[in-house]
């Protein structure tokens, strides 16, 4: 069996093109939708943060004392501090594009950026 074939190179190029096309589609149609951040603890939504308020603040959630979040005035959000060993969540940096997410698995927390324009009146039976 050979190490690498010419065919593999074509395959890689094809995949890269495909990835590029997908990413283009994402940037064009998804990334810049109005966004909000959802914070989940143990897979349950515990907090929703509107990102376009222009406020800068640091906050915690009552479910976990181990993690500090930071909402930036530019509309992004990040894990600012966590006591977990791997620090993957903090290294994920600032999130602001729809679809981005960061997780702190040891503390069972995840931030997800989701579109915020879906809350139209048609989704609910009544608003009050």
């Amino acid at each position: 069996m050979s190490w690498m074939k010419k065919r593999d190179i074509y395959l890689v190029i094809g995949m890269l093109l495909f990835a590029g096309a997908l990413y283009g589609g994402y940037r064009l149609y998804v990334a810049n939708l109005p966004a909000k951040a959802e914070i989940y603890y143990e897979s349950k939504l515990i907090k929703t943060v509107l990102l376009d308020t222009g406020k800068e603040e640091t906050f915690k959630v009552e479910e976990s004392d181990h993690v500090t979040f930071h909402l930036y005035a530019d509309g992004s959000i990040a894990f600012e501090h966590s006591d977990c060993p791997d620090q993957i969540c903090v290294k994920s940096g600032k999130l602001h594009l729809v679809g981005q997410s960061a997780a702190c698995l040891p503390n069972k927390l995840i931030i997800k950026i989701v579109p915020n324009n879906k809350n139209s009146k048609d989704d609910v039976d009544m608003i009050g």
Partner: protein, 348 residues
């Protein structure tokens, strides 16, 4: 010519198909709106096999709600009816014989006053009417909108003692001992009426209804197919594209929101809303809105006003002390807080 025939045949077939689709479900969802009750928009959603049948049901509900609307009115007189305005007009003069529906509401009001440490006071009319007058003046002359002078408010605030509301259950009379005082049931009236309407609907066997009296929502039973009603919590930022900020499941449940966006007027570009803090005599400034979930719409209505008038910790403590009651606070900056059990009600 032949083509025409085929086209016609096609069109007819298409129409039959459409008609067939409509027929198969049998029961359809309808919605009716009324604008003349409680100075707000009333919406009733329900299921029926036809519009006429739905109207028959909503007509009954409307008539029922209308009696409460007239009894709890503080601005208008109605022929042959002693309502809350009659009580106010007879303050310091004589006890007024009133319907049991008023007695029950006022008793609830007294109870709520105790439970909320006076944050909800049905005898707060003297202060509220001043704010009401300044608000309505702004409608006529928005250029010269003014704030009520604090002196005037403070003088009025001397006449808000709820213990001077004398209720004689046996004689079915109400008497205000202080002639300067007046009742304003805005904080509980709509909610209590919605609750009574809910009970009425249940008695009448209407099992799948959604009633909103000015955003005071009562979900009766479930949807026709047994699934939960899904209610949205109004986004306090009414200019936003987002109509609501959270979805909750509701089955035999009431959702009431008190918000600074509901009734307000502008003075020098600043917004002054209608929920007045009894301590400061000014519009309460803790939150943009507070929403309460409770089976009893009357309780939910009163609590939403009370909690709106309290700092978060105090409100949370109050909510947690009452069974099967949850709350969601929305701050001016759009951030939220929930009571401990609220998340269970959130719909995905």
């Amino acid at each position: 010519m032949k083509h025409c025939k085929y086209t016609l045949f096609g069109v007819i077939l298409f129409c039959l198909l459409l008609a067939g689709c409509k027929k198969t479900s049998g029961i359809t969802r309808y919605s009716t709106q009324y604008l003349d009750l409680f100075d707000t928009l009333t919406v009733i959603d329900g299921y029926a096999s036809s519009q006429e049948e739905f109207s028959k049901e909503t007509e009954k509900l409307y008539e029922e709600l209308k009696t409460y609307h007239q009894l709890y009115d503080i601005y208008n007189d109605y022929e042959n009816i002693n309502n809350i305005k009659t009580i106010n007009d007879n303050a310091g003069i004589a006890p007024v014989k009133v319907d049991k529906k008023i007695i029950d509401l006022l008793l609830l009001g007294k109870e709520i006053y105790e439970e909320t440490n006076g944050k909800v006071n049905i005898a707060f009319g003297s202060v509220l009417s001043i704010w009401h007058d300044y608000r309505t003046e702004e409608l006529n002359d928005s250029e010269n909108a003014k704030l009520p002078p604090m002196e005037e408010l403070k003088i009025a605030n001397k006449h808000v003692d709820i213990s001077k509301v004398i209720i004689d259950e046996a004689a079915s009379t109400v008497y205000l001992e202080d002639k300067e005082m007046s009742l304003d049931v805005g904080s509980v009236g709509k909610g209590y009426a919605t609750k009574m309407l809910t009970d009425y609907a249940n008695r009448e066997g209407m099992n799948h209804l959604l009633i909103s009296v000015g955003g005071n929502i009562s979900a009766i039973g479930t949807k026709e197919d047994g699934s939960n009603w899904v209610l949205g919590i109004q986004n306090p930022d009414t200019d936003s594209e987002t109509a609501y900020v959270q979805k909750v499941n509701a089955k035999d449940q009431s959702l009431v929101t008190s918000g600074n966006y509901q009734r307000y007027y502008m003075v020098d570009g600043k917004m002054y809303h209608h929920i007045i803090d009894p301590n400061t005599l000014m519009p309460s400034a803790y939150f943009a809105s507070v929403s309460i979930l409770n089976k009893d719409s009357g309780i939910a209505d009163a609590l939403s006003t009370a909690v709106f008038n309290m700092p978060f910790e105090e409100g949370l403590q109050l909510i947690e002390s009452i069974n099967d009651t949850e709350a969601m606070w929305i701050y001016e900056d759009g951030t939220f807080a929930y009571s401990n059990g609220f998340k269970e009600a959130i719909a995905q």
